[in-house]
Subunit: 247 residues, 8 copies
């Protein structure tokens, strides 16, 4: 802000320009697309697909592509993805993760520079785990998937322990009783993002059980995102992974 | 019931006698003490101490002792226990477990006949774990205590695994996220009674978190009793232990 | 574990072999099938059918059958069962209980060796009760069904009391107010597994009412599993029944 | 209202008088005491003592006594009752029920005219049960107390069945799982008012468990009042008892 | 019971006969139909239609009709009612109330003997109000309907006050904030059964809001049944109306 | 009321007429249409469309139009609106806001007389925001729409601050975490009506999260209406706007 | 903001000065006192007393008084108020409302300019009602108190209707079932701020019942603030009252 | 693990030694102190003080000090801290943060190596914020405190924006509506740990409101820990800060 004010003071820019730079979005009427995010936050605005029509999503994609930015649309059902991909055939769609995405340039795999471990408890948690894994990959990180290692069969987890412990950061996805992050959290020394899922029935209450379990974890180093929020888990992990690799 | 009806038909007993045998309790006015329980359920009526006055508890103890039955009073605060023990000095009181008890005859330790494992996650769960352990002992079972083996330090649990696996039945006591029963449940082949405790804070909601975790356990063979109900956990375990030893 | 370590020390097995024996599952990619369960827990891994595709279920069945183990798949809707049975025509499917199952060898009925009483409150609880009853039968136990004996017509229950009291263990299934386990619990001296169902409306809150009732039961010897978890109720009862018959 | 309007039209009363008769209370500043209730509802205004100071209660008692009406003050702690009784020594105070009351004229016991059965599950429910019983007596009804007949010992209830069945209406008070009204409701043919109490712990959630149980009762003829609302249960029962005796 | 025991003692009846009379129901396998209810409770067993198949309902109707008893089936969707009425064309079906019913003999209207007021707050509560009104009529009572008199337009209620006040008992049905019973309760001197409905949205939480309002009513003489339980409200009111008319 | 009573006293009106004026609605049987509202409350009765059939809505519209009053029907799904508009082609329907409306006379835009700011957090909140905006316009107010200015991109909000600050009153619509009213509330000096929406997933619990946030707002001058209640938000704002312009 | 930027551009102010004007508060270390509020929001910062020590409150009072601004401290217990008043003897303290306040200049009573009606349901709601009433008075508005007019005695309310209807805005305070705002809302044509209180017991759940009732009010023109938030209710009403009088 | 197995195979260590190294804790009876944590997790075991007696805490401190490890005890009330400090006078106690701590060696301030921003919304959140800040400092990180910058006065936050944006990671502590993390999250590009506090009243429900707000944050890069868990927030932040500085 200092710099903009200085430019204004110097007469380098006009008041109009100064104001534009303080609120630097494109107004589509139904939405305001934030083009400053890549600069401000390191990644372009991600489109939350659930409450939006096909037309709205296409318009926002169009605006972002015009700036040659990466694209990520979350929570896109198969039926909704089809017409979007017809118009934008260069985009990718992953049915399990329900993600549409496009990367401007695929950087060479940054092998040896650390990776994010995406761990899930059961086969039913795959959808959320893949949302996390692909999001992290689209945002430029290495990912290792360790799936179906729930606590009721602790040997399956212990057998993969070394790979988990060597990660920069772990994303642990679990439904039902959601106990996996507590066990993993006690075995690793890096940050752990816990993602509760709505998998379960009865006293699970659509993921409330797993959410409460994770918030009450007696393992240190565990923080939590919303139920089924694979994207959110990945976003946090990516920020941490970048810090680790940048330094 | 058949037998009583037959006796009535034969004229061996009167209608009045038949009726008395169908509702065989002693009416103290404020309470009806069930003297048939030792015969019907294998253990005398247990006195829930929390809502009762010192006078009420003493009167019920008096009635039970008159029949020479074992005595167990749960949830007795220290202040309430003192005047009771003054009147009944032969009773025992355990401050941690908040139990008053007396056994008619202490049977010789039934070594080698199996035992109940009482397992707890943390030091703060001791009160509930001891309520369970002593209840089981008063009811005539062997007990092994395995304490402070919460899932965030899984090694402490694994180190005691063999002793746990050889038990007839396990009582697993845990607060906070309550994940311990799921892990133990996956490692043993005997029934497991899970007891959530109200230990924790915030999103623990007085034990709700641990309760939901245990109800949603993905490990098979886990059933649950009320929050902080160490007595209830023990009662179930004792019934199972008796079946195993009786047969 | 001692034995494996000893073999390793003796050079009888390699490190690789030792590690394999500590995590003895088959990795199907989307799932890790635990082939050690029959040895460790007395029954092969049960497949929770709800979150899985037909293809995934078939693949897991295939892996288990290759080991000649018993098979039990729970929560399989009729539409999903049909294509599975086409591929595996030797499997059985029960529409009410929504179970697919297969037993390697049907042992001769172990008449006279005790039985599990499966008791339900109303006609609407049949689905859960049958899930429990068939699970227990597939796992090798005798079962007696006592249905539609809810507490609002207590005579129906009392009329079947003798059969219930002679069981080794009872599974009591009830929705709405869920009061049945408390009444039965006061009349029997064996362990009782209570299964709340989501049957009801309004302040029932999808089974929460029955669940809370059962957790707060003033009858001793009652433990609880998740709402609608007929399988879980049976699993617990089977473990207890085995202990009683084994001893 | 018709009559008042007619009198106004006829000139028998003034507008001022007509208005006074439409809102016929005494304004004490902090409270408006309704002196028309005996006429309109058959009993004077009952004072809810909990949120009020000693001075406020005394002032309201004074206003009611000036009209020579019966007096009933609910939820008065012992410490609060003492100074009130000093000023109004003719009042009665019951410590268990926490009621202050006075009856203008004690009618001769209306023996043979029906009675209200006040039934409670356990000794800990006595406080609420007595609030109900004494309220009903102060309001002029016969009461029979049947206490400590919870469902976990069904014989104690069945033994008192006849007395319960002959009542005009039953008030059933229960905490913990609150199953008693369902069982009683299935055995009687008169209306039943269920009063949940906050007695219990853990997943009882201060009476929520018993409340939900009663609302979901599968027995017909059961209606429910607020948790611990012994007074409310009695008020409903008295209205019904009067209808039965009046006709 | 006394009488049966006496007959047994006298040898008038056999043990087998005595037992049958203590549990006098017809066992259809999936259900036990209680034929003693008309004698014991004054009305035959009512069939809760929601969890039952067409075949099950038809079988139960068949069993009840064989005893020439009245019939009432609640919560029957239109699609389910059609095949039932084809088989039993003499039955009536009301689409709004979702009731199937049949009365053995239609008694002459008992004009002048009192009536039940069925009051509802809004047009959206009609379904529940009609379930209550028709149930009461089928059970032999007079009913007066006062609809769409919610508290936000208090004049509509006051205009119908006289008719409400002259009723023997009121059933008050309301969704949303559910305030109507409190206002009516303050204006009448007879018992009032409050029926919350699930009508509303947002913080209504499927009727929870109306339910809590009614349980907390500061008006005396209000008791509550489950959300949407028009049948239950009517059953209570009918029991009260009978007491008032019988005496 | 004084005036009506005076007229009655003077004999100017009959008792019948006096009564009619105290409850001045039209009884359609299933509904009582309040024709006094324009006089009493400044706007005709608004029809809540959700629980009503097409026929019921048409009948109420017919009754209101007969009095030449404005019309507003809320929560009308597209399928339901079509047949209504066929019969009443002069009505307008807005698909996003799900409103049917008609204004007797469109007053000239009251430019310069203040306006209501309708602010929403995200594109998914549009439906509720438009319900609020159009309601306010139909009721005769100026409206400015400021959409998609959620707090996670605070610059978008600050850029529109001046227009918001100059409004007479603000309606702030937000789902998910619902933080927008707190931020806006700290920046304006006029009243703010907060409308939580059910937009979100997981721990949002159908709008509960946004509702609680708004009720706990640390900004002064924020009051709240029900979840998704755009109409209610507008109604409050219109009342305030009228007060500001009237004075 | 435009103006500040212009001054900066013109060189009238320095960057440092521009920044100070964008964040114009006094930093006390533990708190940042906002001295711009009188200008920005029309009233100085109000001090929420609950979480603060006596020393912190005194320091903030000192800072505000230095600017000669009005003072209002909410939620100050009697014990906490005493030492504060010793240091600042010119402040007033109201024990019922738990408010400390001081007005720089007491404006002449603005008689005839409209007033705020503060209405409460019962004597137990007085504390919250007085917090609202005094807050409004300190902020310069006329207030009329109408207390103890709960809906269970509707005549008391109707008798005060005229005074309520003539108010500019109403604050309606109610606990228990919280039905009063719905009834008042249907009788007035001005905005109504509903304040639920935590008065009640059992299923009241510390004010949740009243809160939900008010949010679901079927009366239009009702908005809601937090439980027991008399201050918040008043603040909203004052903003509205000012708009009405300003215009 | 590989290494230990290799040593075992080589005969370098015995089976007993191998086992000890797999569960390397000190058994105090009531607790098992984990001495391997500094090696495994980078920081010694932290003692949760709340459920423990003074004697238990002293014993654990003694065991940790014997290994010359750093010490951190959380949630120690003033009364409990005094006797502990008497025995261990070299320990520090912070009353606001309720922490006891000791650092083996105070490393020179690692100036210029990045810092953690601890941000809190209001003065009442200080306790939790200080628990976070001091924990992070004891664990070796630089901390900057930015307090009392809640969203209702957004200028206070924006004025400190630069310092916040330059942090490695932010801990944002807020009670009431808990909106601060969403606003900060939209302004920074580093990870943000949100800590809800139980500060508030009414519909805050002991911190539930703030917790839900944070879980539903529409800002990316926000993860959440338990209510009032300042320690947990710090622990996560420290892990991230180390990764950033290590690399």
């Amino acid at each position: 802000m200092d710099e903009i004010l200085k430019q204004l003071q110097d007469g380098t820019i006009s008041i109009e320009q100064a104001k534009e730079q303080l609120a630097p979005y494109e107004n589509l009427g139904f939405a305001k697309v934030d083009h400053h995010r890549p600069k401000r936050q390191g990644f372009p605005e991600v489109i939350y697909g659930e409450g939006k029509t096909v037309e709205q999503i296409q318009a926002i994609i169009h605006a972002i592509k015009a700036k040659n930015n990466n694209i990520l649309v979350t929570r896109v059902a198969k039926e909704k993805a089809a017409p979007i991909l017809e118009v934008h055939p260069e985009l990718h769609y992953d049915e399990t993760a329900r993600l549409i995405y496009w990367k401007r340039e695929v950087a060479p795999a940054n092998v040896g520079q650390g990776y994010i471990a995406v761990i899930c408890a059961g086969t039913s948690d795959l959808e959320v785990a893949e949302e996390a894994a692909i999001t992290a990959e689209v945002m430029g990180c290495n990912v290792r998937r360790i799936y179906d290692v729930g606590v009721a069969g602790i040997h399956r987890l212990l057998d993969n322990l070394e790979e988990i412990q060597h990660a920069t950061v772990s994303i642990v996805v679990a439904g039902m009783e959601g106990a996996l992050p507590s066990v993993v959290g006690g075995l690793v020394s890096h940050p752990l993002i816990a993602v509760p899922t709505s998998v379960g029935y009865g006293a699970n209450f659509q993921g409330l059980s797993a959410l409460l379990t994770m918030l009450n974890s007696c393992a240190s180093g565990v923080s939590v995102v919303n139920i089924d929020n694979g994207f959110g888990g990945a976003y946090n992990a990516v920020l941490i992974d970048r810090l680790a690799n940048k330094a």
